[in-house]
Amino acid sequence: MGKIYEIVIGLEVHVELATKTKIFCGCSTEFGGAPNSHTCPVCTGMPGSLPVLNRQVLEYAIAVGLATNCEITRYAKFDRKNYFYPDNPQNYQISQLYLPICRNGHVEIETNAGKKLIGIHEIHMEEDAGKLVHDDWEDCTLVDYNRSGVPLIEIVSEPDMRSAEEVITYLENLRMLISYLGASDCKLQEGSMRADVNLSVREAGSEKYGTRTEMKNLNSFKAITHAIEGERERQIERLEEGKTIIQETRRWDDNKEASFAMRSKEDAQDYRYFPDPDLAPIQVSEKMMDAIRVKQPEFRPEKMARYQQEYDIPTYDIEIITGSKHMADIFEETVAACGQPKKVSNWLMVETMRLLKEHEMDPEDIHFSPVHLAKLIQMIDEKKINGSVGKEVFEQIFEHDVDPEKYVEEKGLLTVNDTGALKKVIEEIVQKNPQSVEDYRSGKEKAIGFLVGQTMKAMQGKADPAQINQILKELL
């Protein structure tokens, strides 16, 4: 009774790289084609076919390695991992064991407990497998090789994490780094980022690691958090009962909120790894390293610090905007075009976020031109249109990337700045609404609002409410 336990967690994170073609052939990586429509002799393991490395895969892997402070292996190799399964057309997966492309890195995380470095043991490149589809009607299993050969990197951390919070923060940082690089969209739900959790418990203060289990099938941060809590309790319970932990792979069932043993270490296969003789060793030249270094973007922490200095916008806004490199790029380009960071930030924080939610889109999906938003902001500043017309126009910019100047002109939405014409309309409104005029004059300030509204209606929105207000006051 009363023992204090500590959890020790290491992660194996698979990230699907955003290349147009597969890792060892020219087939498209696009999602959702008809079964086996994105295949060729190479990715279906036809006799005599040979793999050729997609250079972009190597560049992305190195870029991720640099972003995670890894040493880049200048002489790397691919190895074959041999196992029989129908989704694996060659019955070996081309991966890296002996000389992975990146080693000995780290990612900094910050939680309530402060800052901490999480070690990266290695990052290696490998190919994804196909997909088995069971046909209940015919009672047979079919294989779709569209995913076969889609490039992956596996990021293996050191067992440096001690809580679910650290795990989630680490994953969020990884996701941010990788999406800033454009190397992957890192969507857990869609499987472009997958995390396996290696977890053990030990008494606090103990130097020795406990026996670990590996949990698979975790496809949301929520599932990861629950799985960690559940596995922690399960292991502690066993230890308290005097039982030992079995080294095994467990599958998390999100519906049952529990994990189930898949296979133990005793069933572990001998993968008979050996260097793939079909692929020449990878020689990473200094020139290639330089080219990749030059292309490394400004990552989120530096970007946030710079925004704090350069722009007078709230920290909260900075967090949201830099949460997506794409959004941050749009922000910076728009500011460059109109010079009003606060207003740009507002359009992104309020209207853009609202529309994204409404259309069930991610910030990455924003496709309007920054210059169009900049023009819109200027037009409002110059009172060419009023705020509510502005919102209407922005919806068009967001959806169809229209040029606001042209759109406003075509639709006749320009604010009427002809004071004479406006005055004439206001006079009519005043005449038609003697009661409101009476009310105002007898001290009911609110009544003027009604008159402004009526004027706006008559003007079909194409007026500046402040200007109407002023003219009304003069008239009355």
Binding site: P41, T44, G45, M46, P47, G48, S49, L50, P51, V52, L53, R80, N82, F84, P86, P89, Q90, N91, Y92, V143, D270, R272, Y273, F274, P277, D278, L279, A280
Partner: protein, 494 residues
């Protein structure tokens, strides 16, 4: 014009000179196949209709001046481990007994681009594993000189077909001697190029780091012409090299004066048949008399070549052959319970004994705990063998030796003792381990009339030197070989 005794170069010249057409040449070869095939069984697949149609098309292109090379209109055969689009490709194995590829191997494409017409696919040891063509699931090929003997292997079908006139030239593949040894046993020329010279794309892999495609032909000139045609830098093969100066036919000149040729003493020790030894040393004498400097030396590492080879080749093979599982193509067992039972039964029934032996050996040497002791050690041995050759080539332009310790053994005498069969590869295997080019040229016959081959080995990329020496020997040497029979072929005579 006696078509069957013509070399490819002579035949193509005859077609160009309108003495004969590509279709007539093909008909003559098909007729010869009809006469001989029952006895010798060189082919797994023969497609006469396709061959004749293709020959007619090639003839049209020759007449239109589109095809002018030394292989235009020449009937050719392809070893059955190279993919041929829409043509059965079995590797002489039951497991690929029904496999029809959707694409052609790069080497086959290049051969066809040069105007050669593919007749069919030649018999071989199953998945190129063997030295006699007896491990073929479709029955052995017989030696063209004496059908009671083996033709060698694994490219035995290609070598025998060339010798019998069942084709004019053929492609083979050489992982540990599979082109040179059958060439030697059948009395034809066989050339294994530097690793990376000919694309392996479409070659069904046995030992990927050792496999190389090359020609089997009636003489050295044809071998040079075929090699020139099939050499290419192929981006689909990561091990393919971008070579310069691949005009191998330009090396077809007589002259070995000043060439330094080393004879490794290690190649003439115990186990070498006396008649083979005499024939090979006589060949050295011929070259010496022609002006070459001949010197004996100790190559070293020879006894380690066989264990290193059988470790590396079988390790790679165990992985390469995993894809044959009954799921996607090829043979699948009829009745099974569940996936693993299907795998086991399919592979048990689909592979022959020698293939299974090598898969097991290869799986063993790669297994956890043994990898360092066997596979890694074999790779280190390979590097040391390469070093031994590098040192030799600092002194010599070429290395000369026998191709095999004996002439062709009798059918049925080899498989019972696989270790003895493996030892027969001793002179050819290290060439593959070191990635070097090697050629086998006929240099005599034993008392039973069985052919003996002379092996010349060059440093990487030095095929031209090797071709020049082999061509010189062929022109000077007077023996019972194809080159001496050439007089019967047309008016042309180089």
């Amino acid at each position: 014009m006696d078509i069957l005794s013509c070399t490819a170069v002579q035949l193509a010249a005859g077609i160009k000179a309108k003495e004969i057409t590509a279709v007539e040449a093909m008909q003559a070869v098909l007729h010869q196949i009809e006469q001989k095939e029952k006895t010798y069984h060189c082919y797994v697949t023969i497609e006469p209709e396709r061959a004749l149609k293709e020959a007619a098309e090639v003839q049209r292109r020759i007449e239109a001046g589109e095809l002018t090379g030394p292989l235009a209109g020449v009937p050719a055969a392809v070893k059955d481990n190279m993919c041929t689009k829409n043509m059965l490709t079995t590797c002489s194995s039951r497991i690929l007994g029904n496999f029809v590829p959707a694409y052609s191997a790069e080497a086959v494409k290049n051969l066809e681009k040069a105007g050669a017409v593919v007749i069919g696919k030649t018999n071989m040891d199953e998945f190129a594993m063997g030295s006699t063509t007896e491990t073929s699931a479709f029955g052995p090929t017989c030696n063209p000189v004496d059908p009671e003997h083996v033709p060698g292997g694994s490219s035995g079908g290609s070598a025998a077909a060339v010798a019998l006139g069942e084709c004019v030239v053929a492609l083979g593949s050489d992982t540990g001697g599979s082109i040179r040894q059958p060439a030697s046993y059948c009395g034809v020329v066989g050339l294994k190029p530097t690793y990376g010279t000919v694309s392996r794309y479409g070659l069904i892999a046995y030992g990927s780091s050792l496999d190389q495609i090359g020609p089997l032909s009636k003489d050295v000139a044809d071998a040079a012409a075929v090699l020139e045609a099939i050499t290419s830098h192929d981006e689909k093969d990561s091990t393919s090299l971008d070579r310069k100066n691949t005009d191998f036919t330009s090396a077809l000149t007589v002259g070995v004066r000043g060439m330094k040729i080393g004879i490794p003493r290690d190649y003439f020790g115990e186990g070498l048949d006396q008649e083979v030894k005499e024939a090979v040393l006589n060949a050295a004498k011929v070259l010496k008399e022609a002006g070459a400097e001949i010197e004996e030396f100790d190559l070293g590492m020879v006894e380690y070549a066989i264990p290193a080879y059988y470790t590396i080749a079988t390790a790679e093979a165990s992985s390469n052959l995993e894809r044959f599982d009954g799921i996607k193509y090829g043979y699948r067992t009829k009745e099974f319970e569940g996936l693993h039972n299907m795998y086991k039964k399919t592979r048990s029934e689909g592979f022959g004994a020698e293939v299974k032996r090598r898969i097991m050996l290869g799986s063993f040497v790669l297994s956890s705990g043994y990898y360092d002791a066997y596979y890694l050690k074999a790779l280190r041995t390979k590097a040391m063998i390469k070093k031994a050759f590098n040192e030799a080539f600092e002194k010599y332009d070429l290395i000369l030796g026998p191709v095999a310790p004996t002439t062709a053994p009798k059918l049925g005498s080899s498989l019972s003792d696989p270790l003895k069969m493996y030892l027969g590869d001793i002179y050819t295997i290290s060439v593959n381990l070191a990635g070097l080019p090697g050629i086998s040229v006929p240099c005599g016959k034993d008392s039973q009339g069985l052919p003996i081959g002379l092996q010349l080995i060059a440093d990487c990329f030095q095929e031209k030197k090797m071709i020049q020496a082999a061509y010189s020997f062929e022109q000077i040497y007077v023996g019972d070989s194809f080159s001496s029979k050439k007089a019967g072929c047309g008016k042309e005579n180089r």
